[in-house]
Structures are given as C-alpha cells and as structure tokens.
Symmetry: C2
Subunit: 438 residues, 2 copies
C-alpha cells in the first residue's frame, strides 16, 4: 500500500529530460524557462532541464536554448541515471513507444502529449508504469491546453460519466467554420488552410478524423474506465461535407461539426465514434469555432460541464505538459508517484456503428416528377424510419434537392433504405447522409 | 520534505464524517452511496460514512440514510478518532470555522464547499492545515460542480494567470437572463424566482454580489498566488439594473452580466472586483444563461480557457465534494496529504476600484433643449473622458434618454464627471453607470 514510503524524495532538485523540440517541446521549454521561479515555488523544489534529444541540433528553434543541452541520441536522455522525468514530445508510435517503455524500465516518470501512442498503446504503457509505481501523464494528448484528463480523473471522478462529446480537432473545425462563414467548398478551404500553415501538407489524419479518433478513444477509456480498442472506434472525416450541406443545415437551425462522441446507452452499452454531425445552433458546443476545441461531459451527478480553449499549438499544449510535469514533481516530492494510475478496469466491447441510433440528415437529388416523394418515403417506411421533416428545393430544370430529417433510427436501417432508394428510377443521387446530435 | 513517509496508510478503509446534510450534504451522500463501488475501485480502498452531524435528526431528507449515523453533536464527528476526513457542508463562518479548526487540530483531512469561510478565513485555515501536512480541499466552494480550483492548482499551474473573469452566481444570472428574455424589471423577476425557489427568501448575498465576491476572492488568491482580503474586493450587485439598461445594451450589441473579475494590469497591479457589466454578445461568456456558471481564465501560455456548468445545486456541488474526497483518499493511501497546500505566497494589496480603467456605459435623462449635448460632453472632456458613441432616444415629451459609451477611463474620472453633470440644469437624472468589459 503506497509505493510512497519506499520512494521518498532525497535529491535537491528534479532533473527533466525532453525528447523532441518541435511545436510542443518548444512551448514546454519556453514556459519552464519563463515561469521557472513561480513553478518552483509551487512545487517546492528546483527544476532543471538536463538534456533534450532532437533530430537536428543546428536547427533554428522557436525557443532560446543552451546548445550543450541538445543531443541527437535519445538514449542520452532515457538512460541518464540523473534524469527523473522524461517528456516524450516526438509524437507517433514509433519510436516514441519504445523510448517510453525503456524509460519506464529505467524507472523514469513519463509526461507525454502523444495521442496516437496513448490511444493505440496506452494500455501496455500504463500497465508498465503502474507495475513500477511510476507516473505516466498525458494531459497534452487531448484538447491542447484545455484541462480535461486531470479533471476527469480527479474533480469529476465521483460521477458515472454518461456522455463525452467534443470538438477535438482544430484543423477540421477551422475548415468547417470557414466553410460555414464563407459558404466555401471543402477543397478550396483546405488548400487555403495549408497555404497559411493551419493545416499540414498531408492533412489526412485531421480531415479523415484519425486525430479525433485517437482523442475520443483516450477520453472514452477514462470516462468508462474501460479499455477502448482504437480500431473499433468508427471514424468518418469531413471530406464529404459540401457547401449545400452547410447551407441546408443552417436553414434548418444547425451547424455541421466534426464530433468525437462517447456515450453510454440506456441499456448500458458504449458508443465511441467520430463523424461530422448536425448540431443545433443553441447547443453549447455549436459556438466553438476556428481552432478552438470544446468538450462537454455529462455526469450523473454534475450534469453537463464544458471545457473550452485552444486545442493545439505551442503555448497551449506546452501549458498542459508543464502542468503534468508539476503534478509529477509533487508526487516525486511526496513519494506518491503512481498515485492515479490506469483506471481502465474493464475490457468490454463497444457497439458497432451500424447499431447506433440517432437522428439523421439526408440530402438527395431527384427527378422533378409526380409520386417521387411517395416512392421514397415508402421505402423509409419499409425500414421503419420515421420522417421528421422534408424540404424540397428546385435546383435546376427537372432536378430537385430534397433534404430529409429523420427521427431516431439505427444507422443500419438508414444504410439499407438508402441502398434501395439509390436504385429508384426517380432518384438521381443520394448526395449525403449525416447524423444529427442533440 | 514529504510528510508522506510519516503517514503511510495502514487502515483497511477510510472513514468519513460529514457536518451538514442540506442541499450539498445530501448530494454528497447520495453520490457516495450510488457510485460507491466505482469510487472505491478508483481510489483503491473502501470508503465508509461513519457519522453525519445535522441540526434535526428527524427531518425528512432528500437522501435515504441510516438514522443511526445521524447526530446533533458536531463534536461526535470532529472528535471521533476513527474519522479520517471531515466534510464541512454547513456553510457560513460561524460555527463552521471553529469546527474546521478543531478538526485540523485533531489531525483530520478537510473537504469543504464553504465559500464564505474560505474567502474570509482561508489563510488561517490553510496555514493550519499546511503546518500539519493535512489536506484542505474546497473545489465545491466556487462554480458548483465545475472543476476550477483543481485545474488552476494543477493542469494550469505552469501559467502566469493574467485574468479570471466569470459568471459565478447562478441566482443573479437567472434573474438577468430572464430580464433579458422577457424585458422584465428586476423586482418582478426576483419575486418570481423566490416563489419558484430559484432565489432565497433573503436574496441579499446573491443580488448584492457578496456570494460572487467570496468566490472571486478565492479564485484570485489562487490565480495570483496572493492573499486577497475579501473586504478589499469591491462589490456592486444587480439591484440597480433596470429594463431600459438591458434594452439599450442589447441594441448596442451587448448583454448585461454580473461578473467576478480578477486581472493583472500591464504594470502588474491586481484588480479584483464584482459588478454588473456590459459584455459583447460574441464574448464566450455571453451565452451563459440561467443558473449556469462559466469561468474564463487567460494564462500566458494556454491563452483563453473556459469552464462551464451548473454553478450550484445538490448534484453538481456534491460532485465537487466527492471529487475532493477522492483526491484526499488518494493522498491518504499514498501518505501524501498536504501535497498541494496553500499557494498564497504574497500579500500584495489590490487596486482601489476608483483606479480601475475600463470602458463605460452611462444612461441619463436630459431636457430636450439646444446645447444639452455640448454641455455634457464638455464636462466629459474636462475630465479627459473620450466618448466612443452616443445615442439619443426620445422618451416622452420634453425629456430624452441619452446613452453614452465611453472609451477607457478610470472609474474615478467618470464618478467625478457625473457629479458635475448631475448638477447641470439640463440634466434630469443620471440613471445608471456600468462598466463595459471585453
């Protein structure tokens, strides 16, 4: 009970080693340098950055740094017996995971902002850390500087979490916000975002939803105290969102956002999914625009709480990393590392996306002929799908856009109904199908 | 260095004693009962409520409770040698403070949701706790269930906090929201809120801003690592807000909210104040309506982060208290109580409200005569106050409402200018003067 007593702190300062000095690493180092006196006053011990591993020691950095601290050899950080905390700020699974495992074997405390590694390999790493009573903190892996992981593990920990729903990818939120404001098309806005550096040259991980997939997997695993197999988290990006969808959503009182969603259903099954969805304009998340992130949590006692802030960037993510470092320092000082370790007690499977019940938005192009509506609505009826509302728009000549809002139905029913509807003579195309969240 | 080792945990469960079983106490007990298994799994030890002190053991409670746990004698909780954590959920300074002091002398860990006691007597209590390496947690004292104190002390702790601005009183926010929606007058809405139980029969502490004053004093003391003398926090309630103010604010693109504000100025002086203010409609806090609270924090690294949720009530505040209890339990288990203690390192004074510089809104009634505007604007000019905009409204007959928006000016200048303006022949009355926040 309590690894604490075995590990009481007997050094006169805490030595930090850092892997990676990119966007997050620079923000972390800059903050540790700038607010060092206050940080040390709060943790009650001096802090010292001993070594930083980088790919290129001669590269110009956003932060002023003593060049003698830099090394291209990560093992000079990981294997240095004097280093207490290793901050892994490289990103990606390989080689980050092997570095972290080795650092844990060496008895180092770990702070990371690596969402992909934590989502895919978190279980193994957390188990390894727990078995040695070591800290492994990862606040910076979700939501940039927004405190979300610590509050879920601490202040909200008494709640049974019913739902986590968040805008957790800044790039796609920037693109969708701009598409909404300017009625622009996806590819044009993406190109502009890339030109301005708001989106990466290879934006796949963002626009296809993988970045959000990692993050919601992490949040769901904490919310449900359950291991989440990231490959089981269904994911759909924003590449199919077209200007008319945003236009029609707006007319119906909605905005389109890429959401990460983790829900417990009434019969206690878990949904974890990423997809664009229509969100009512008066929803607390709906006003979250541009690179901002926001995460809403529903607990059985607290009700709805929302956390909002910059979801990425040097300063915000650096803030999260330094917060974690300070938490680890306090644990080192008090001999209480491993104080809050892995809480993934269960390994229940999540629901298949086909079984997820929600409201739906469907946009299609049809021939402007009699009986079109009855033919289509007849098919929806065959699949027990109830129509909430329908709007017809004359687009050009003999073709009409029809926008349907459906009452709650399983995705599977919609998918099967649309297969039939696509083959109706009068239907030119089913242009899009999106979920509607409340 | 590390009281931890001295106090390693050697009991097979953690015993909790509770003082007060009102709104917050019931929410706390209900949550501990409902989610007990999950809570114990997370903290790694069994929890047991041993004793609850109440005023009336026979009163009907919102929570089902074994009557043998109840006592009317608080000392049966405070002095029970088996009790590890005392939850003070009575509220007010007297006798809560004396109970907490005695419990600390007895070596108990403390969890409280008592804003008035923490704002007025927090320094003494925190010092007492720190000297004995005991925990004294108070997440529930501000923002109900919204995690705010823990995040400021942990995840955001690396930041130099530049600003805290919040809607931190649910009753006044409910009243102002309703006045805004229904264009109703303050006294009518207050009466209705009292009839419905949303406001207390004696609503003084809420409507005069004292409740918000306690809360912003607590937040400022953490944000600035500085003791805040609550009596120095200038406070102004919402009783002077009239329907025309809300109407004119709306026309100008603002909403009126009661704000708690803590700011560092460019020359590193601290402002801590509570008053109603005009807030632009696109401000992230502006959409916080009814009983919801929201707190925005600006850190030098993280930028703006916002926390939103229910600011009061049994479930939300119970959530915060249970989160604190779990934090203390983890510290007990690891021998790390007192791990994050008082961070009020400094005792610098805060700025006088007269010196606070902000934009201003002024509403007055004047005679509809020539040269009125030049007379009034001449006085503003004499006091170096620059006019941003002015709107004249013909109200009735020979009298006109004038609404002024002023560029930044010290409160003192406005106050002195208004003294002169009141005495001008053409001025019927200065109806209201409010600050404008960005």
């Amino acid at each position: 009970m309590g690894a604490g007593a075995e590990q009481a702190w007997n050094k006169n300062k805490i030595e930090i080693g850092i892997l990676g000095l990119g966007v997050v690493g620079s923000g972390t180092v800059a903050l540790l340098q700038r607010n060092r006196a206050e940080i040390e006053r709060k943790i009650g011990l001096p802090l010292h950055i001993k070594r930083i591993a980088v790919r290129d020691v001669d590269k110009n950095r956003a932060v002023e740094i003593d060049h003698s601290l830099l090394t291209t050899n990560a093992f000079e950080v990981i294997d240095d017996p004097e280093i207490d905390i290793v901050c892994e700020l490289i990103g990606g699974v390989d080689p980050a995971k092997s570095y972290v495992l080795r650092a844990l074997r060496n008895g180092k405390q770990i702070v990371t902002a690596n969402k992909e590694m934590m989502a895919k390999e978190g279980s193994e790493l957390m188990e390894q850390a727990a078995s040695k009573h070591l800290d492994l903190q990862f606040e910076g892996s979700v939501g940039g500087g927004i405190p979300i992981i610590q509050p879920m593990k601490n202040a909200l920990a008494g709640n049974r979490i019913l739902e986590v729903i968040g805008i957790i990818n800044g790039t796609t939120n920037y693109i969708l916000s701009k598409m909404t404001r300017e009625r622009a098309e996806f590819l044009d806005v993406l190109k502009e975002a890339q030109d301005h550096g708001y989106a990466e040259v290879d934006a796949t991980s963002d626009v296809e939803g993988f970045d959000a997939q990692y993050k919601i997997a992490i949040l769901a695993s904490i919310a449900f105290t359950n291991r989440i197999n990231v490959a089981d988290v269904s994911v759909e990006g924003i590449t199919r969102i077209a200007a008319p969808d945003i236009q029609y959503a707006d007319e119906l009182g909605y905005v389109i956002k890429l959401l990460g969603i983790a829900k417990r259903t009434a019969d206690d099954r878990m949904q974890v999914r990423v997809h664009p969805a229509l969100l009512p304009k008066n929803h607390p998340l709906a006003a979250t625009n541009d690179v901002y992130n926001a995460i809403m949590i529903k607990g059985d006692s607290v009700g709805d709480v929302m956390f909002y802030g910059r979801g990425a960037g040097s300063g915000p993510t650096g803030s999260a990393v330094v917060g974690d470092i300070m938490d680890v320092c306090r644990n080192l000082r008090f001999g209480s590392t491993g104080r809050i370790s892995c809480t993934c007690f269960d390994s229940k499977p999540i629901m298949a996306i086909e079984d997820v019940v929600s409201r739906h938005y469907i946009r299609m192009v049809v021939q402007d002929k009699p009986r079109v509506l009855s033919a289509i609505s007849g098919v929806f009826g065959d699949f027990d799908i109830n129509i909430e509302s329908m709007v017809q728009k004359t687009v050009q000549g003999k073709q009409t856009d029809i926008i349907w809002l459906m009452h709650e139905a399983p995705s599977k029913s919609i998918s099967e109904a649309l297969k039939v509807i696509k083959n109706l003579d009068v239907v030119v195309e089913v242009s899009n199908w999106l979920r509607v969240e409340e």
